[in-house]
Amino acid sequence: MTVPPPARLRDLRIAPDEPARLKSLAETGLLDSPAEEGFDRITRLAQKLFGVSAASVALIGEDRQFLKSVVGDLEVNAPREVSFCTHTILTPHTLVVEDAQQDERFSNNPLVLGQPNIRFYAGQPLQGPGGHNIGTLCIIDQEPRTFTEEQKQVLHDLAAIAQREINVRTDLKNGAKIQQAHLPGSAPSLPGYDISAYCRPAGELSGDFYDWHVISGRFRFTLADVMGKGTGPAILTATVRAGLRATAALDPAAALTAVSEELLTNLARSESFVTAFHAELDPATGTVRYSDAGHGLAHHVTGDGAITRLPTSNAPLGIMAGMQWHTRGITLNHGDSLIIPSDGVLELLHEDLDDLAAALKQLTTSTDIPADLNRMAIGSGSPSDDVTVLILRRT
């Protein structure tokens, strides 16, 4: 079913790909997003290069125009029917209006008759996924002008830079979606236990991950951190996860050893390494058999509030051939928790292990882990690392 456009938009020319165009715009996540230096740099440059009063990256939503980036005196939101750019996105070409007062499409436009008194306009369409015109890079001025072929080329080149920003951003968003899909969904139902986890990447993609699954009645779980953040480490997280899943029949330490050997070349080439806490719970007894490869941040909190940091078995995975890890055991009694943070949480607490222990103890009884971690992040200034926590509590 097609929803008719609002009455005020009925006279507006709209391209036949409008529904797909709006979907494409939504996929970029740019509408109503805050200003970003990547785009602001381009509008600043455009304004200076052309010596105009204003430049913007405008996005055309269903019934309004939103300026993702703007220099000069322009409203961030404007009704679509008065937008110049809504005309620009009808074709793949640059739209140049040398004098709006002399152009019948615009001579009665309120933006021409009143503030900001547009006389000159030039806009180059920008595309979202699927090649739909979602907006423009445009310049305006209060004086009529001629716009040469050479200037058109410059605007075209600047728009290509803005286009690249959009493409990279969309690519990262897709990557993030796929990475999110690799995290396990809701925790398995394990009578007598509460399981929760949270992963917040510093950017779009994360070098941390957690995983869990139930195999032959045992609860197998992992929290791992690939050195670095962003796209490179994010690719490696998928490999490590797959490796640990494939070795689920092995004892946790043997699984880590196998994965380290398997990934040695990959990790060496990418100059990376992986810290991991890999474990298996027997739900009936509360016994956790775990192996820690250079992660070093897992804590055992007992029902009476005592907290112990669990020792590592050996250095991180992927450092050198022939390394061995060992499995240790602890028992979770009723009321005990096992909490494993990534080192991003330690960074939030200014690298202080005592503060970390205190914060982790609180998190084990938290009813809203993301909110509590956000509070810690705000307190610490601007966190630069991925933040991940996994909590296993025996009720």
Binding site: D225, G228, E271, S272, T275, G296, T312, A315, D343, E347
Partner: protein
């Protein structure tokens, strides 16, 4: 971060001054890589003035260690500050790259 090197009798001493993070890590790799290429694969990295190291910094240490060993030498570290020591201990990297108290001790037994 600022790097300097001085040739001693049987090794080169590299001093790293500042924060060994994502920005400085590739710089350290390059600095030590050049030393190795120039024929000094026995290196002591003096970390007295390294106030902070993150996991990228740790990655650079591992990379430098491998490069030095591949060239028939070794990389040793000395004079670590409390935060760097904590990172080495937490990650058990001190089992692979044990910190020496002083630069002089690092190669004193071989």
């Amino acid at each position: 971060m600022n790097f300097t090197s001085e040739l001693r009798d049987s090794y080169a001493e590299v001093t790293a001054d500042g924060r060994l993070n994502m920005v400085a890590a590739p710089q350290l790799r390059e600095f030590i890589g050049n030393l190795i290429t120039d024929g000094s694969p026995r290196i002591v990295l003096n970390l007295e003035k390294t106030s902070f190291m993150d996991s990228s910094g740790l990655g650079a240490l591992i990379g430098c260690l491998k490069a030095a060993r591949q060239a028939g030498g070794d990389l040793r570290i000395a004079g670590v500050t409390p935060q760097v020591r904590m990172v080495l201990q937490l990650t058990s990297m001190d089992k692979v790259l044990a910190p020496y108290a002083t630069v002089e001790e690092a190669f004193s037994n071989d």
